[in-house]
C-alpha cells in the first residue's frame, strides 16, 4: 500500500450510499475524500428546480427504507433533516368506485370481506420479513466459504427461517418464488386491493404481477421494513435533496471532505491495486482504497476498464440486468388538483393508479417489446401540499413514478416523449378532472434521461434489477458480492450491492464495515 497517498479512502459519488459509507469510514479514523460529478450532492436523492419557483425531488421522492438507527447514528436531525410529513397514507385510486386507503380501516370500509385476510397475510409476511430482515443489515455471506463468521450468518438465516415453525416455513418456501398475481388471488377478492398491494411488489422492477419472483420483491421490501425502516413513507422537508445535504453535513462533521463538480474519469491502477483516481479535469488524487458508489457497470466497464478485469467477470457485469423500467413525471400546477372521492388530507399521501392485477400485467406486457403502455401505472405524490417551500404560493408540484416505461424504446425516445407525457397526464386527469388545465410546466424523465442525469447505466434505481439471481451473495455479480472487487483496493458501496437501492443507505454502511474489517 502507498503510505504517502493523499487520502486513505476516495469515495466516487456522493449519492446517499457514498455519503453514508464516507461517514462511517471517516468515523473509523480514516481520511476520506468524496468526489461527486454533479454540482450538488445526493445522486438520485436530490431536490432541484424544474420550473421557475417549482422544486421537486428529481429522483426518489419519498423516504422509507433508511433504518432509523442510521438516521440517529449519523445525527441527521442535528444536521438539518426534518420531515414535512411522516407516516404517509397509501391510497389506491379507482375509476369505478371510491379510493381505498391501504390500512385495516380503509380496507374494512371498501372491501370488508378482505379485511381479515389482509390482517392475516400482513401478519404472516411480517413474520417472514423479521426472519429475513437480519440478512439485509450485514455483509452477505459467501456460499462454500470456510470463514467462520460467514458460516454463522448462513446458519443464522437458516435458524431464523426454521424458527418460523413448520407451517410458516413451508409457506415461505412455497411463495418465495411465486408470482404476486397468484398470491393476491389466493388471499383477496377486491381487484383494487389486489392491484395496489401488487404494485409495491413491482415498483422499480422489471416484473409484472405474473412474473415469477414478484413475491420475492414484496418480501424484500417488507424485510427492509423489519430491518429498522419506517412502516410508511415520509417526506423530508425540502425534498430528498435535504436528506442528502444532511448526510453531507454529517459526513463532513465526521471528518470527510466532499468535492462536487469533480467527475472521475478513471480509477488508477498501480501494481494491480487501486491507487486513486484521475478526474475529468486531469487532476490525479491518490488513495489507499477507492470505493465506488457508481453502479457496477459504470464502475467496472467505465471507470476501471475491462483491461484490469478477467473476461468471465466482465461477461457477468455486462450481463447484469440494469435497464430501468420506471420514468419520473414532474408537473408544475397553478392550483391543487382534486382527486375524485379523496378527502383533502389524503391528497398528501401516496396515490396509486394500479386498479387491478390485469391492468398491471397489461401495462407490463408492452414493456417487454420496447413499447410503453397506453394505460400506465403510477405512484403519485403532491409534495408541495406537505411542504409549501417547494412551489410558489397557491401553486403545487406533482411528482409521480410511472411504470412501465422501457429504457430502450423501439424507435427511440426523440419523438416519443411528448405523446407519452400526454398519455400519462390523460390517465391522471381521469382521476383528477381539471388537472391538465392547471399544468404550467411539465417534465418527463425516461429511464434514458435518468441514466444521463444520475449517471447510472440503464437508469435503474437499484443500479441493477433486484431479483433472486442478482441478490445477496450474487449481488451485483459473483466475484464482487462482498463489497470487494477482483481488483485489490477497489470496493463497491452503491445500490448495485446487497441489499440494493431505494434510499436505504445500508449498502454504504455495510461496505464501510467491510473495508474497515479488511483494510485494517
Amino acid at each position: 500500500m502507498n503510505a504517502a497517498a493523499d487520502y486513505d479512502c476516495i469515495v466516487i459519488g456522493a449519492g446517499h450510499n457514498g455519503l453514508v459509507c464516507a461517514n462511517y469510514l471517516a468515523r473509523s479514523g480514516r481520511s476520506v475524500l468524496v468526489l461527486e460529478a454533479a454540482a450538488q450532492v445526493g445522486g438520485a436523492a436530490v431536490t432541484r428546480e424544474f420550473a421557475p419557483g417549482f422544486r421537486v425531488s428529481a429522483g426518489a421522492h419519498l423516504l422509507q427504507w433508511m433504518p432509523r438507527t442510521m438516521i440517529e447514528e449519523l445525527a441527521l436531525g442535528a444536521h438539518g433533516l426534518a420531515f414535512a410529513a411522516e407516516d404517509l397514507p397509501t391510497v389506491a385510486l379507482s375509476l369505478e368506485g371510491a379510493p381505498m386507503r391501504l390500512d385495516p380501516q380503509g380496507i374494512q370500509a371498501r372491501s370488508p370481506a378482505d379485511a381479515p385476510a389482509y390482517a392475516a397475510l400482513n401478519a404472516q409476511l411480517q413474520r417472514f420479513a423479521q426472519a429475513l430482515g437480519s440478512m439485509l443489515s450485514g455483509v452477505p455471506p459467501r456460499l462454500g466459504t470456510a470463514a467462520r463468521s460467514e458460516r454463522l450468518a448462513l446458519l443464522r438465516l437458516g435458524w431464523q427461517i426454521r424458527r418460523l415453525g413448520r407451517r410458516d416455513m413451508r409457506e415461505l418456501l412455497r411463495i418465495a418464488g411465486m408470482c404476486v398475481y397468484d398470491l393476491m388471488q389466493e388471499h383477496f377478492v377486491s381487484m383494487q386491493l389486489q392491484g395496489a398491494l401488487a404494485f409495491d411488489a413491482l415498483l422499480g422492477t422489471n416484473l409484472g404481477p405474473r412474473s415469477p419472483g414478484s413475491v420475492f420483491t414484496l418480501l424484500y421490501r417488507l424485510a427492509a421494513g423489519a430491518n429498522g425502516a419506517r412502516s410508511a413513507p415520509a417526506q423530508p422537508k425540502g425534498g430528498l435533496g435535504a436528506l442528502s445535504e444532511a448526510l453531507a453535513r454529517s459526513a463532513r462533521a465526521s471528518g470527510a471532505s466532499i468535492r462536487t463538480d469533480a467527475p472521475v474519469r478513471r480509477i488508477r491502477v498501480e501494481h494491480d491495486r487501486a491507487a486513486g483516481v484521475t478526474l475529468e479535469s486531469g487532476e490525479s488524487i491518490s488513495a489507499r482504497v477507492v470505493v465506488s458508489n457508481a453502479d457496477p457497470k459504470t464502475t467496472f466497464l467505465g471507470l476501471l476498464g475491462s483491461e484490469h478485469l478477467d473476461t468471465g467477470f466482465v461477461r457477468r457485469v455486462s450481463h447484469l440486468r440494469s435497464a430501468g423500467l420506471a420514468a419520473k413525471l414532474h408537473l408544475a400546477l397553478d392550483r391543487l388538483p382534486r382527486f375524485a372521492g379523496l378527502d383533502g388530507a389524503a391528497h398528501g399521501g401516496r396515490l396509486l393508479i394500479a386498479p387491478s392485477l390485469d391492468y398491471l400485467e397489461r401495462a407490463y406486457n408492452h414493456s417487454k417489446y420496447g413499447e410503453y403502455s397506453a394505460q400506465p401505472s403510477l405512484e403519485i405524490t403532491l409534495p408541495s401540499l406537505n411542504d409549501a417551500q417547494l412551489a410558489p404560493a397557491g401553486a403545487h408540484v406533482l411528482s409521480a413514478i410511472v411504470q412501465y416505461v422501457p429504457y430502450a424504446l423501439g424507435g427511440g425516445w426523440q419523438q416519443a416523449r411528448q405523446p407519452l407525457l400526454d398519455l400519462i397526464v390523460d390517465r391522471i386527469e381521469a382521476h383528477a378532472p381539471g388537472l391538465r388545465a392547471s399544468i404550467t410546466a411539465a417534465e418527463l424523465l425516461t429511464p434514458l434521461d435518468l441514466e444521463q442525469q444520475f449517471r447510472t447505466v440503464g437508469g435503474h434505481w437499484h443500479h441493477g434489477e433486484l431479483a433472486l439471481d442478482q441478490f445477496l451473495f450474487v449481488r451485483p455479480v459473483p466475484g464482487a458480492a462482498q463489497y470487494e472487487t477482483p481488483l485489490p483496493g477497489l470496493y463497491l458501496c452503491g445500490a448495485g450491492c446487497h441489499p440494493g437501492g431505494g434510499v436505504m443507505g445500508t449498502a454504504g454502511r455495510n461496505a464501510a464495515r467491510r473495508i474497515a474489517a479488511l483494510a485494517a
Binding site: S306, D310, V314
Partner: protein, 402 residues
C-alpha cells in the same frame, strides 16, 4: 406435417470439406477420416509408420485448414491480446509468431494456439478449437475487430528435414533465410502464399497459408517437387506420435478446455501443464493473473511430466503409481507412444506433487494384449526432461540441404 424443404437434419449433414479434400481423398488408401472443428480430416492415409518416418526422414503435407483462425485488428489489438493470453506479446515483432495459451478467470486453460503478428495492429490467432465466443466477450471494452477467417484460408503444414529443399524446388527463393517463428510472403506461380516457420512436429517445418482457390494448385506443385525427397501426405495419427516426441500438448488429451469441464477440479492451469515459461506476471493484467499468482504462491499440486518407461509397450491410458505395489495412484498417462526415433517408450503424464521432479521414479500399469490374451505389467518409469526429441535441424537457419 412436412417442411417446405426436405433438408436433412443438421446432425445428418455431411461435415465440411477442406479445399484439399479432393487430393486427400484420392491419396487416402484407408478412407480413414475423423472430424475436426466441423471438417473431415485424415486420420491415416496408408500406414501410420510410413507417415511417421516421412516426418522424421523426408517431408510431409498435413492439411491444417480446420484450425480455427481469427483475424484481430484495431488500435487495441495488442492490448486485447495481451489481456487474453498469459505471455507478453508486446515483445512480438511484426512478421513473427508466438505460441500462447489463454485462461479463464480462475487461471485454467481454455486453449493454446499461435499468434501471428501480421502488421502493426494486425494479428491472427490460430487454435485447434473454436474460440469466437470467448474472444468476443474478451473484446468488451477494447477497440478491436474480430473476424472468424477459418474458412477464408487454406493451410498446409510442410514438415520434415527435406521440406526446405522442397520449397526451394518449387521456387520459394529466400525461404532458407526464414527463421523459426518468422513469417514470409512468397509467390508460388500465380498464388500468393504466406509461410510461417512453425509446426507441431518438433522438426524442421513450415506452415503455408493461401486462398482456398489456390489450394489444389499449391498441393500439386509441392507433391510434384517433393517426389524425389520422399514427400507423403500426413494423417493425424502419425502427427500425434511426433508431437508427443516434441512434447507438445493437445486439447482434450492433456487438458480439457476450462470452458467445457463439468466437474470441479478437472480444469488445468498453465503451471500444471508445465507451461510456466508462458506466464508473464510483469506485463500487466491478463485473464487469470490473480488466480495464477495465488496458485504460484501455493505451489503446484500436480504437473504434466515426461516419462521414460521401461520396455517397448506404449502406456496408453495407463495409471501411474508411487510404488510397484500399485497401492497409491499418483496420476495417469495422458499421451503415450513408442518413439521409433528415440528408441524410447515415452509418455506424457499428469502426476501429483511431489512425484513431479525430473529423476524421480514412478510405476506405470500397462495392459497388454498379446493375441487376445490380456496381461498387466507394472513398468518402472523415470520422470525426464521434455521434449524427448529436439533435433538441431528444427532451428538451423539456413536449414541443411537434405
Amino acid at each position: 406435417m412436412g417442411s417446405a424443404t426436405d433438408a436433412p437434419p443438421i446432425y445428418l449433414e455431411p461435415l465440411l470439406r477442406t479445399p484439399f479434400h479432393e487430393r486427400a481423398r484420392a491419396l487416402s488408401q484407408l478412407d480413414s477420416f475423423i472430424p475436426w472443428n466441423g471438417y473431415t480430416s485424415v486420420d491415416v492415409f496408408s500406414s501410420v509408420e510410413h507417415e511417421y518416418f516421412a516426418v522424421r526422414n523426408a517431408s510431409t503435407l498435413y492439411d491444417l485448414t480446420p484450425m480455427a483462425k481469427y483475424r484481430i485488428r484495431g488500435v487495441d489489438a495488442l492490448r486485447f491480446l495481451n489481456r487474453l493470453v498469459t505471455r507478453d506479446l508486446s515483445k512480438l515483432k511484426p512478421n513473427r509468431v508466438a505460441y500462447a495459451v489463454w485462461c479463464n478467470d480462475s487461471g485454467h486453460l481454455i486453449d493454446d494456439g499461435t499468434v501471428f503478428r501480421l502488421g502493426e495492429s494486425e494479428y491472427r490467432l490460430c487454435a485447434q478449437e473454436r474460440q469466437l465466443d470467448w474472444l468476443l466477450d474478451s473484446a468488451l471494452g477494447f477497440e478491436v475487430e474480430l473476424i472468424d477467417e477459418t474458412e477464408h484460408w487454406a493451410a498446409l503444414a510442410l514438415q520434415g528435414p527435406t521440406c526446405c529443399a522442397v520449397l526451394e524446388a518449387v521456387g520459394l527463393s529466400g525461404i532458407e533465410r526464414l527463421k523459426p517463428f518468422e513469417i514470409g510472403y512468397f509467390k508460388l506461380q500465380a498464388a500468393d502464399i504466406t509461410v510461417s516457420r512453425t509446426g507441431f512436429t518438433g522438426d524442421l517445418g513450415y506452415e503455408l497459408w493461401m486462398a482456398p482457390s489456390d489450394a489444389l494448385g499449391v498441393w500439386d506443385l509441392l507433391m510434384a517437387a517433393g517426389r524425389s525427397r520422399g514427400i507423403r501426405p500426413l494423417g493425424s495419427r502419425a502427427l500425434n506420435m511426433v508431437r508427443i516426441e516434441a512434447g507438445f500438448i493437445l486439447p482434450n488429451v492433456e487438458f480439457v478446455s476450462a470452458e467445457r469441464t463439468l466437474r470441479v477440479g478437472r480444469d488445468r492451469s498453465p503451471f500444471e501443464l508445465g507451461l510456466d515459461w508462458l506466464v508473464d506476471f510483469d506485463k500487466g493484467h491478463f485473464n487469470g493473473r490473480r488466480a495464477l499468482l495465488a496458485e504460484r504462491r501455493a505451489g503446484p499440486a500436480r504437473r504434466l511430466v515426461g516419462l521414460d518407461i521401461e520396455g517397448n509397450k506404449p502406456a496408453h491410458n495407463a495409471l501411474v503409481y508411487a510404488a510397484r505395489s500399485g497401492r497409491r495412484q499418483v496420476g495417469a498417462v495422458t499421451s503415450a507412444t513408442w518413439s521409433p526415433t528415440c528408441k524410447r517408450n515415452i509418455a506424457l503424464a499428469l502426476l501429483d506433487a511431489p512425484h513431479i521432479d525430473v529423476g524421480r521414479e514412478v510405476w506405470v500399469e500397462i495392459y497388454l494384449n498379446s493375441e487376445l490374451v490380456w496381461e498387466r505389467r507394472m513398468c518402472r518409469a523415470q520422470i525426464v526432461e521434455r521434449p524427448f526429441f529436439a533435433p538441431q535441424r528444427r532451428r538451423a537457419t539456413p536449414p541443411a540441404d537434405y
